[in-house]
């Protein structure tokens, strides 16, 4: 069966898997952004804690995904939960690193003048530092999106949701007429999600950047 025929016949199911795939990636990114930005804010002023936080996030990213999924079965069982947790761990480093880099890149003179205007530490952070660092933070999220979209495919080995299911189903049916179309459509679907997210986060970054520093 050609890829075209296969797509027409399985459109509904593919769409459903694609949505599942995109949803777990977006959930993981949302959690990773909250965690990464919070840890970044808590550590960017200091050398040692920020280094330790980055090292830990780096270790998560270095652990092979298959192994991390395997390790998470023990505490979390099978399914979407361990899949999302693993994706969060993989997404942390780029977000954390860019949060720290972005906050450190804010001109101290700007922060001082905000202090001179009577802003407290919290106000300076929320109204001056974070908006100035935001373009760099959101590019970190964009990088994380690319990493997690691909890794999410492996979640299928622990019964996670998404297009990875079709890749493994195809593998189990080597030699049948639909196997190649099934694996190919799932792989292309994942790449399509990647491209959409890449463009989406680029636009979101432009839209959410403070008007004063837009180019």
């Amino acid at each position: 069966m050609s890829l075209g025929e296969y797509l027409v016949k399985n459109w509904d199911r593919l769409l459903e898997l694609t949505v599942e795939h995109a949803v777990i990636v977006l959930i993981a990114l949302a959690i990773a952004t909250v965690v990464g930005v919070t840890v970044g804010i808590a550590t960017y002023r200091t050398q040692r804690p920020s280094k330790i936080a980055l090292a830990v996030a780096g270790i998560f990213l270095t652990i092979p995904s298959f192994a991390l999924f395997g390790l998470l079965i023990a505490p979390l069982g099978l399914g979407a939960k361990p899949a999302i947790v693993a994706l969060v761990l993989y997404a942390l480093l780029p977000i954390l690193r860019n949060t720290i880099a972005g906050l450190r890149a804010v001109d101290p003179a700007v922060v001082e003048s905000a202090q001179g205007m009577g802003m407290g530490r919290w106000q300076r952070l929320v109204r001056i530092e974070l908006p100035l660092a935001w373009p760099i933070v959101i590019t970190g999220v964009r990088v994380s999106a690319m990493i997690t979209v691909g890794i999410a495919a492996i979640a299928a080995v622990i019964n996670g949701p998404g297009l990875g299911k079709d890749i493994f189903r195809a593998l189990a049916r080597v030699g049948t007429p639909t196997a190649v179309s099934q694996a190919l459509s799932a792989t292309l679907g994942i790449i399509a999600i990647g491209i959409l997210l890449d463009v989406g986060f680029l636009l979101l970054g432009k839209l959410t950047t403070s008007r004063g520093i837009r180019d």
Binding site: P64, G140, L171, A186, I195, L197
Partner: protein, 268 residues
């Protein structure tokens, strides 16, 4: 640290790019204490794992996988996959990167770097399974998939590394009477080495991780152990496979960091 080399001196836009640094927790800034303590931690984890397994009653299915012969064989396969694919990546990507940064080919760089970023979204398991379906199973498709998956970071870092070399340094070399080839060999490449090495280390980490999936195309590796545990529903086997794989990947990354430090040209 790998990341710093490519970010330093460039616009914040560069921070956006997924780079070498992504996999670099223990990079060049490693203190002597960290250098010595890290392998001790890995050894400690392995000893703890061994003690834990010893304390458990293994049934016959578990014994078939959790034994020295089975694991060492898978470990060697894993290392072969990693080494072969990383060497191939270096042999292909570095010359190609040099070629693509010569005058005349420069306009290719921005789209290629964009492709490298999105290329990360290509699922490694998809590439692996497609190669198995289209071609064959075993060692060869596994290595081809690993190469395809890890070539972009090295290519990208080779190009970025060569392009960040200060134009005036190159002009100075030309002014001293060096040929273009001499400028490349004696000025551009040495100055680009730290960035290229960072890319190679990223590729190495990607390869050691992706080689875990080689089990799905019958190419062995430590993924065999994890997969055995999953298929037979044996918790002990899953833990042994996962912990060993994780320790191996972290150890290879650590070694990569040491080599990166050693090979960095003096004076940089």
């Amino acid at each position: 640290m790998a990341v710093d080399t490519s970010v330093a001196g460039s616009a914040p836009a560069d921070i956006t790019a997924p780079t070498a640094q992504d996999a670099d927790p223990l990079g060049g800034g490693m203190s002597l204490r960290a250098k010595l303590a890290t392998p001790a931690v890995f050894a400690g984890v392995c000893v703890a794992l061994y003690a834990w397994v010893q304390g458990r009653e293994l049934d016959s299915i578990e014994q078939r996988v959790v034994n020295a012969d089975f694991i060492v064989e898978r470990l060697l396969q894993h290392l072969q996959l990693t080494a072969a694919s990383t060497l191939l990546v270096i042999a292909i990507a570095v010359p190609l990167g040099i070629l693509l940064t010569r005058a005349g080919a420069r306009s290719i760089t921005p789209p290629l770097i964009g492709a490298a970023n999105i290329g990360q979204a290509v699922p490694s398991i998809g590439v692996l399974v497609l190669l198995a379906l289209w071609w064959t199973i075993g060692f060869r498709p596994a290595v081809v998939a690993l190469v395809a998956y890890s070539i972009l970071p090295v290519l990208r870092n080779t190009m970025v590394g060569l392009q960040q070399v200060d134009r005036s340094t190159i002009d100075a070399g030309r002014g001293m009477g060096m040929t273009k080839r001499q400028v490349l060999r004696r000025i551009e490449l040495p100055l680009a080495v730290p960035v290229i090495l960072a890319g190679v280390r990223t590729a190495l980490v990607i390869n050691v991780g992706t080689a875990t999936l080689a089990t799905f195309v019958n190419a062995g590796g430590l993924g065999d152990v994890i997969n055995n545990g999953l298929v037979q529903n044996r918790f002990t086997v899953i833990v042994v496979g996962s912990v060993l794989t994780a320790v191996l990947a972290l150890f290879i990354d650590y070694l990569g960091g040491l080599v990166e430090d050693l090979l960095r040209p003096k004076g940089l």
